[in-house]
């Protein structure tokens, strides 16, 4: 048996987004009104509280000796509770990065109009075990001059604007 054009022809009916939005076919609209309050738990709770203080904190696994960031209550490799808290630096190196012309909902940024592309990166934090990275944004750098291994440092919001969030760090910028 081959699957042929004829067999699939009537399995689905092609529409355009306009056909739906302008009512060529009937449709129903719905916007879910669901909101969440996610418990931070002890590990992320302390992580966020320290971000408010302008510091980055990690946690150590006493079995594999990794210094884990973001901190977590158990080591996902050794499956044992983690040990002591360890402050790490707010500097690091770029592991990999992106020059993004789109926002989270795939909407295009007005690059021609002068909007700077987003430059998210995985940043390996100094003081954590090598390879332990976090996702954050880069700025104060020409997007096209970012390179692997570039040294960067956190740019913090002023203390009065910090709320205990990953965005208390505005972005990371290059340091030479």
């Amino acid at each position: 048996m081959e699957i042929t054009d004829k067999m699939v022809a009537k399995t689905a009916t092609k529409l355009s987004a306009e056909d739906i939005q302008k009512g060529k076919v009937l449709s129903v609209k719905w916007t879910p009104n669901l909101k969440y309050a996610w418990d931070n738990g002890p590990a992320l709770g302390r992580y966020l509280a320290e971000l408010k203080n302008g510091r980055i904190i990690a946690k150590k696994c006493n079995k594999c000796h990794r210094i884990l960031i973001p901190p977590r209550m158990f080591c996902e490799l050794c499956w044992v509770p983690t040990g002591e808290w360890v402050y790490v630096k707010d500097t690091g190196i770029v592991n990999t990065w992106v020059i993004s012309y789109v926002d989270w909902k795939a909407g295009r940024l007005d690059i021609k109009g002068g909007v700077r592309p987003f430059t998210p990166a995985v940043i390996e934090i100094d003081g954590a075990t090598k390879g332990m990275g976090i996702l954050h944004l880069l700025n104060e750098v020409d997007p096209w001059k970012i390179y692997r291994g570039m040294r960067v440092k956190a740019v913090w919001k002023p203390p009065e604007e910090r709320i205990g969030a990953i965005t208390d760090i505005k972005y990371f910028k290059p340091v030479e």
Partner: protein, 385 residues
């Protein structure tokens, strides 16, 4: 464990916007699969459903919603979900049911209707990231693909224009696929000139969002021999998840795909995958992913896949044709249905029923693979005629 064969297959057209409800799409694929092996719904002992996040179709408890369209009325029914890896987990899930001896037949259905989601289905991916440490940065799925592609390119010195050949190959292959949404004759230059989404990813490096469904019928050996002269055996299955702390993984190589592949190869008795696999459908939601996976599947040495691609090794008439269907890039990417479409392509190739897409040399062993979740799951199925 009993031997399990695929004996029938069905597939809808893939479109960016289909009128059909998710149930209706599931029905069309399931019905075609039953018809293809002249079976009735009453011949089916159990049903499994693969469908990815509820947030695409916008139906909470999508598995339950889809049950009757998938033919599961008053039958044992299970839904599974591992993001983009779902479609290739589907036959694995069905395989358990039959290999265990519990059921003789299983209808496996995969469905996705992404067009329901506004402002764009990409937005549904926001909530797969850690809600406290990552979501506040408003990441998109395209970012993490681009971030991985960049690491992959930087590690091996691969060039964008070389990776673009994957889009050229797959979209051309898709011209011969009846369900294809985006079959086209394009050039490397077209890929490089298409809009930048998130460097190094351009628009033509990405598979489209799609609506569609796929289905297969699995049978135990004694039933399979009765139903068809050309059963295609599921000889190896493997799957594996890596840590969700994705930033701490080295993104240039998908270790979890290798673990899944080794599991499937061991089960199928495959020692030298690059020689013993004749045709493969690695998951290609983005151009570089096909190469990333080819390396993870041990079908090419690490750092060598681009060279082989440029030599035509992965073309339909090459040594190891990959994505002869046209893949997610060409046929379309209704997430879970894409993985099952790949299984169906290998099924047809091994039966010699792929029509214009048939690869030469009468292949007898093939592989399909998918990938997903937070860049952490690999699912692999090895099939033989």
């Amino acid at each position: 464990m009993r031997r399990v064969a695929i004996v029938g297959a069905g597939l809808t057209k893939f479109y960016r916007n289909a009128q059909e409800t998710p149930k209706e799409l599931a029905y069309e694929a399931a019905r075609m699969a039953l018809d293809s092996c002249e079976m009735k719904l009453s011949d089916i002992d159990c049903v499994v459903m693969g469908t990815a996040p509820d947030a695409f179709d916008g139906v909470h408890m999508k598995g339950e919603y889809l049950a009757d369209g998938a033919g599961a009325y008053r039958k044992p029914y299970m839904r599974h979900f591992v993001g983009g890896g779902t479609g290739v987990l589907s036959p694995i899930h069905g395989w358990f049911h039959v290999a265990s001896g519990m059921f003789d037949t299983c209808l496996v259905v995969a469905e996705e209707k992404m067009s329901s989601a506004y402002p764009h289905p990409a937005g549904a991916f926001l909530t797969i990231f850690d809600h406290t440490t990552e979501q506040p940065l408003y990441p998109t799925l395209i970012w993490i693909f681009a971030i991985e592609m960049n690491r992959f390119m930087t590690t091996w010195g691969y060039k964008k224009e070389d990776i673009a050949l994957v889009a050229v190959k797959n979209k051309r292959n898709a011209l011969d696929h009846p369900s294809a949404q985006l079959g086209a004759e394009i050039t490397v230059q077209d890929v490089l000139n298409s809009e930048i989404m998130a460097w190094p990813v351009n628009r033509l490096d990405i598979s489209p969002t799609s609506d569609g469904a796929a289905a297969i019928v699995l049978a135990a050996e004694h039933v399979a021999r009765r139903v068809t002269e050309k059963p295609i055996w599921i000889d190896g299955v493997g799957w594996c998840l890596d840590t969700a702390y994705w930033c701490t993984r080295d993104l240039y190589y998908p270790d979890y795909v290798e673990v899944a592949a080794r599991m499937a190869y061991k089960m199928a008795g495959i020692k030298e995958p690059s020689k013993e696999i004749h045709v493969a459908e690695p998951y290609d939601p983005f151009t570089y992913k096909e190469l990333h996976h080819i390396e993870g599947l041990l079908l090419a040495p690490r750092g060598k896949s681009v060279e082989m691609l440029k030599d035509g090794y992965f073309n339909r008439d090459g040594n190891l044709p990959t994505c002869p269907s046209g893949g997610a890039l060409g046929v379309g990417n209704p997430i879970s249905a894409t993985g099952l479409m790949k299984i169906i392509e290998i099924f047809l190739q091994l039966r010699g029923e792929a029509g214009k897409r048939q690869v030469p040399g009468k292949p007898t062993c093939g592989l399909a693979q998918a990938w997903g979740d937070l860049m952490q799951v690999g699912t692999v199925v090895v099939m033989r005629s």
